[in-house]
């Protein structure tokens, strides 16, 4: 039997035999009660004991649930198709991780479902091919529609009503300067802030890890050029770059994601590169290379998984920074349509009435609730990140940066 690894064909090497030899049939004496724990299991055990981190996690989970059930979700058939096929691709590739060699069928499944997702995404640009929309999530937690001006249908409602005037049970957060229900707007606003932080950080860290991993592994000129590009991105104040990008691409969810990914990936590239420089000198890397593993596989299967700790910490602490940044753009009124229920954007009217000068009344309920919502989510996320930092025992502390970066 032969095993093919890269260009070298190894004769007389049977992986089954090696695997059998590596898994001892009998526990070595004296080691029976020492549980072998993976790095991640150990981290989770330590995380669970951290009270403030668990409080943070519960708050984040609660707000994420609210975000999902705030308003009904209806998706077109093609969107559902894309999500499903991406999920299948992801599931199959996770499955293939647990096998030494991915079978041809498994590989075909992964590439096939990814191709299907791509095909469906392209089909969206042809009207008529998107299919009817289906309501996948019918629950609505928000008592009123967040964009309806209540005074149009209900003569008892006005603009700028305080919670007491509007009735504490009907409108616990009062109404805004256009006469919309603040409570519904705060609930619906969780959609933006809760999701965009995770989406941006996921995309940015994937790009950054790939970039920094390659730069660190190959070194010399490749490293020099790639890291100078990282330096260029670092030279911009993040919010300023985000403003320019939104100014060019226009508003919208994925435009905002792009606006924060473009300045955001650089930190991950720099972090992982530093770690890769250390990890690549280790013996298991030499071993993998000696076995003829391809560079791609050495980088992404051996080096990166062993250098990922600081990236995980940075990512968890970065979610809050991104959320504040997005809310800051909303506050500046850039990248959002007027009246969008987004926490930062809901504060814009307050600023406008402040500038209007003397006699301006500040309606505390319009200022307090959206800001408190941002603060609560970001604080909870930072507690989680801090807990992850302690649990993973990162060698150096990574500090969150306030003020939207």
């Amino acid at each position: 039997m032969s095993t093919e690894r890269g260009r070298i064909t190894i004769e007389g090497f049977d992986p089954e035999v090696v695997r059998e030899r590596e898994t001892p049939t009998q526990e070595p004496a004296g080691a029976t009660d020492v549980a072998v724990e993976s790095r991640w299991a150990r981290a989770w055990r330590r995380f669970r004991r951290n009270r403030s981190a668990m409080v943070g996690l519960v708050i984040v989970a609660f707000m994420a649930t609210v975000a999902v059930f705030a308003m009904p979700i209806s998706l077109t058939l093609s969107t559902i198709g894309i999500i499903l096929s991406l999920a299948v691709a992801l599931g199959l590739s996770v499955l293939s991780r647990f096998r030494r060699r991915a079978s041809t069928l498994l590989k075909a499944g992964i590439y096939g479902s990814a191709a299907l997702a791509l095909l469906l995404a392209v089909a969206r640009y042809y009207p008529g091919l998107t299919g009817p929309s289906l309501t996948v999530q019918p629950i609505q937690l928000a008592p009123y529609d967040p964009e309806t001006l209540l005074w149009i249908d209900d003569p008892s409602m006005e603009r700028d009503m305080s919670p007491r005037e509007a009735g504490l049970f009907d409108h616990p957060f009062g109404t805004d300067s256009e006469g919309r229900d603040m409570f519904s707007r705060v609930i619906a606003g969780s959609r933006w802030s809760v999701s965009i932080g995770f989406v941006v950080v996921t995309i940015a860290s994937i790009i950054g890890v790939a970039w920094g991993g390659i730069a660190g592994y190959y070194g010399s000129l490749v490293d020099e050029v790639m890291m100078r590009i990282v330096d260029v991105v670092f030279a911009f104040p993040a919010l300023l770059l985000a403003l320019v990008i939104v100014f060019q691409l226009g508003g919208g969810y994925f435009q905002l994601v792009a606006a924060f990914v473009i300045p955001g990936w650089a930190i991950y590239a720099r972090l992982i590169r530093g770690e890769v420089l250390k990890t690549k000198e280790m013996e298991f890397v030499t071993a993998a290379r000696a076995l003829g593993a391809r560079d791609r596989s050495v980088i992404f299967r051996h080096i990166v998984p062993n250098s990922i700790t600081p990236v995980v910490v940075q990512a968890s602490l970065n979610v809050g920074t991104v959320v504040i940044g997005v809310a800051a753009l909303g506050f500046l009124g850039i990248g959002f349509e007027a009246g969008t229920p987004e926490w930062g954007h809901m504060l814009t009217n307050v600023r406008e009435s402040l500038i209007r000068g003397p006699g301006a009344s500040i309606n505390w309920w319009q200022t307090f609730f959206p800001g408190a919502a941002i603060f609560t989510f970001v604080m909870a996320m930072n507690l989680v990140g801090d807990g992850i930092n302690d649990a993973l025992d990162a060698q150096e502390d990574i500090e969150p940066i306030g003020g939207g970066g």
């Binding site: 030279a235 911009f236 060019q248 504040i324 800001g371 003020g403």
Partner: protein
């Protein structure tokens, strides 16, 4: 690498990074459709196609993009950032006029941050893993999680609108008038809070790391009072990493300046940048972006050099 070679290398690396910054800035603005002339034309029905072409030729917008980049860069190197389309004034005059406002505000926020961060950081490190440390950790994380625009609005509505201690708009006095110190307090606190919290955490972990080192044990063993050990030995060594971290915060202070200047109507570069975005003044956008990036790169350069000077063990 000797210190001199390291400094030379870092100074020379300023050039390719600056080239990259200028290319990225220019590309972001020019590689998407729509230019200021088409914006003027769309707002003005009397504008004919011939007028449009004439205006484009006047501003050099009809040339190929690559050529436009080199023209722009050539002018920038001679200190000419182009003109503000709506007023026909030079962008560099605008930057020079607004810059002191932003520097004053940023410096105030920075000093505020350090004044808060260093003592509390020392306190937290000395009390590591005790109640005081936990408490200061929660306070610091709250400071980081506080959106600066929300903090600014709350400060304004409490101290300016309700209590009337300040005006909502800054007074029309000269920047260097002593009264301005009073008017800097609210925006300064707003811009400095997040940095203070970040710095405090950096200070704490730097101190905590130093405290584990052997020279501290030696100092204690030879009978030095704890005060001397902390303030003379540990503090000095941990300030090295704080210095560099403080320089790296320049970028986040500039980010903060946009929001804070808009809230407090502070007439600095951030407010000017925001107005330029709303009015699509591309020369102003590019000018301010390029200028602030250059400042950030310079600060990081200084931080690296200061690091090498302060810690003679570091050699590259």
């Amino acid at each position: 690498m000797s210190l001199r070679r390291f400094i030379l290398y870092r100074i020379l690396s300023f050039i390719p990074i600056m080239v990259g910054v200028s290319v990225l800035t220019f590309a972001l603005i020019h590689l998407t459709p729509g230019d200021p002339v088409s914006l003027i034309a769309s707002g003005n029905p009397d504008f004919s196609a011939a007028d449009e072409a004439r205006l484009r030729a006047r501003y050099g917008l009809d040339e190929p993009v690559v050529q436009q980049y080199f023209t722009w860069m050539g002018n920038v190197l001679q200190g000419d950032f182009g003109i503000v389309y709506s007023t026909d004034r030079a962008v560099e005059d605008l930057i020079v006029r607004r810059l002191p406002e932003t520097i004053t505000l940023g410096l105030f926020g920075w000093v505020f941050a350090l004044l808060i961060a260093i003592p509390t950081g020392i306190y937290a490190a000395v009390r590591k893993d005790q109640l005081g440390d936990d408490f200061s950790r929660i306070v610091a994380l709250s400071g980081i999680s506080l959106p600066n625009f929300w903090l600014g609005l709350m400060l304004l509505s409490i101290f300016a609108v309700t209590l009337g201690w300040w005006n909502v708009l800054p007074p029309n006095t000269k920047l260097y008038h002593p009264d301005m110190l009073y008017y800097l307090i609210l925006p300064g606190i707003t811009i400095g809070t997040a940095s203070a919290a970040t710095m405090m955490r950096i200070m704490r972990s730097a101190m905590a790391e130093e405290m584990n080192k052997e020279y501290v044990t030696t100092a204690r063993a030879k009978g030095l009072p704890e005060r001397t050990v902390i303030l003379k030995h540990v503090l000095r060594n941990s300030l090295i990493s704080v210095t560099t971290a403080a320089a790296f915060l320049t970028a986040s202070i500039f980010s903060g300046a946009i929001v804070v200047e808009v809230i407090f109507s502070w007439p600095g570069l951030g407010l000017e940048f925001y107005d330029a975005i709303l009015l699509r003044e591309i020369n102003v956008i590019m000018g301010i972006t390029l200028f602030l990036s250059a400042v950030i790169i310079l600060m990081n350069l200084l931080a690296d050099i200061a690091y090498a000077f302060l810690d003679p063990r570091i050699r590259y």
